[in-house]
Symmetry: C2
Subunit: 351 residues, 2 copies
DNA sequence: ATCCCCTGCTAAAACCATTTAGCAATTGCC
DNA sequence: GGCAATTGCTAAATGGTTTTAGCAGGGGAT
């Protein structure tokens, strides 16, 4: 445990060269004309002293800090957050950057504070993450830091990473179609008539569009469409319970796994088996989905991949494009065996 | 959007004073002899220019950066992480600090890198968080940054924040005892005979100690003790299924909510009702617990409170003590109504 | 009138790395 | 041999803040 940190000057002194030379060599500039011998001496000195550059000093001089800020409305209220954060963190680590985590609760005042705190620390880029995809308020930024939106959009910043919900919606329907079921299909979570004027996030809108387009394309229709504001297990339970009093569905397309969980409970109480009596497909690949019996087949939200991609975009120059990440299919036991088994093989994936 | 950042010198110039004066006034030192008029002028100048101190410059000079590092083995593999992070983040924000998040996967090489990355950035403190409580390897630290262990321990760093598992274990048993059930109680998740020599984390050891002490204190004994290595839903399911072939328990004490979830599934399939036929108590207050029907009564892991406390300890001077955070009881519907209803009122809590 | 203290402020150093401008010595060219 | 270009390196400025040391001027005590 040494008294003081070792500085570049110490390294230079030990190498018998100037700090200038040491700096150039250690930062790996190749436009320099320093001798191979000088390189060797400096590197030797640096490792022998255990030199670590002082990031504050470097940031002061260069205005970059090898750090990025991940500014999120909620960090852990939803399990989605974790995946985004994890992916971002991994990509940051690979790029030898460090990640500041900031939470705003979606409150403009805290958003502003978060941005300022980040900017004060000379971050090299900002990620604005939204836990439920939406148009995000981004406070005005002084300077010109690159910004990437994650799971949300902003008019001012076109660079965004989003799940490919439209394709995901289509895939869910295709899985259903491939079981050979053609009637008594129920949509759990949305009914356009009931939800006139209700705001659903852009992601969900796309998910629904994919579903409806694919249903039409396969010549299928819903026997019933049940809506509720929050997609929580108890709503899935109540809606399914109500449904079962009148009808006996063959398949339920659930708009998320939590609704599906509720449906499982109601079906179980009614003595119906999955997938024998009723098949289910769902969305998100919530942790829940793997716990259920049988496992729930679901179109997963690729949070980790999204987080990774956002950081990569941020760090590889001026980002400007919206990018869609495909939602992988996770096949488990909640769908009856397809009529054409090989059709499903193609899109199979692991847990 | 101004071309350059406003510096302290700009503020001083506008106020007609020296940077020294401006610095002293803005950092709020009271040992100074600057006039009230000077204070007013500097503050006015600072706000009118929108001055924000350059953290890098300040860190360079003072060796503190108003930032802390949260170094965790896993950030989101487990839902526990989120709570710890959230709590820590909230406390950091209150203290006007910023939080670096680093993940090590428990690999020494990455731990070392994480520590170095943090120290390079002059963090004011380090939190080492473990997702499953354990003795944590902490790489040697140069300098003397304060360190707090979170949900884990380290011989070298006595300051630690842990859940009060012993009391939690006792509480779970007390809840059970208060239902009036005196026999046919099963422990799900641990059997000392089967687990000789198996490593269980210190937390779990304390939880078990609390349970066993309280059982003895209430004059109760377990009818069966079932063990499994991983406490996942499918194990809970399998063990309970096996159990039901031989016995018919009145109560199951589950060592975590995931085991309890599996037990719910097995009990449901066997046509037994909760809590009518079988009562359950569990630990952790996993998200799951609130989804189950009936809701699962559980002794919760106070992750958010732990995260908060860790940051507070870190920031309020030299931390040295181990601190236990009580595990709140969450009463839901999985226990039959107690014989002495008022006894439970006292420890009731909300979801 | 001298000395001392107090008030209110400032000059300049320090923190540590990067970068611009440029110096001294050698080589290349005719 | 004379001149330019190249090679291999360094001095010094720079970034923005904090902090140490100290200055100028006024007042009080003696």
């Amino acid at each position: 445990m040494q008294k003081k940190r070792v500085t570049l000057a110490d390294v230079a002194r030990l190498a018998g060269l100037s700090p200038t030379a040491a700096s150039m060599i250690l930062t790996g500039r190749h436009d320099t004309r320093l001798s191979a011998e000088a390189h060797a001496k400096v590197h030797a000195a640096a490792t022998s002293l255990g030199y670590r550059p002082n990031v504050a000093a470097r940031a002061l001089r260069t205005d970059r800090s090898r750090s990025i800020a991940f500014i999120s409305d909620y960090v852990a209220t939803t399990r989605f957050a974790s995946g985004l954060i994890r992916g971002a963190l991994a990509a940051a680590e690979e790029a030898k950057h460090v990640m500041l985590l900031l939470e705003t609760g979606g409150e403009p005042a805290r958003e502003l504070q978060a941005v300022e705190a980040a900017l004060d620390r000379q971050v090299d880029g900002l990620i604005f993450a939204a836990m439920r995809a939406r148009e995000v308020f981004v406070p005005p930024l002084s300077g010109n830091v690159p910004v990437v939106m994650l799971n949300g959009t902003s008019a001012r910043f076109p660079a965004a990473v989003l799940p490919d919900e439209y394709e995901g919606g289509r895939t869910a329907v295709r899985l259903l179609a491939e079981t050979g079921i053609t009637d008594s299909i129920v949509l759990l979570g949305h009914n356009p008539a009931d939800e006139k004027g209700l705001f659903r996030s852009q992601s969900i809108a796309r998910r629904l569009a994919g579903i409806r387009d694919a249903m039409a394309a396969h010549g299928l229709g819903f026997d019933a469409e049940l809506s509720c504001w929050n997609w929580e297990p108890n709503h899935g339970y109540d809606l399914t319970k109500g449904l079962l009093r009148k009808r006996r569905p063959k398949a339920i397309l659930c708009l998320n796994d939590r609704l599906a969980f509720g449906a499982y409970q109601a079906l179980g109480e009614a003595g119906l088996t999955i997938p024998g009596d009723v098949s289910l497909v769902s969305f998100d690949n919530d942790e829940l989905a793997s716990y259920l019996r049988p496992g729930l087949t679901t179109i997963s939200l690729p949070h980790e991949a999204m987080g990774r991609r956002a950081v990569q975009m941020l760090l590889e120059g001026q980002p400007g494009q919206e990018e869609l990440i495909t939602m992988p299919t996770v096949l488990r036991g909640s769908l009856i065996a397809p009529t054409q088994p090989d059709a499903v093989q193609k899109l199979s994936s692991t847990v």
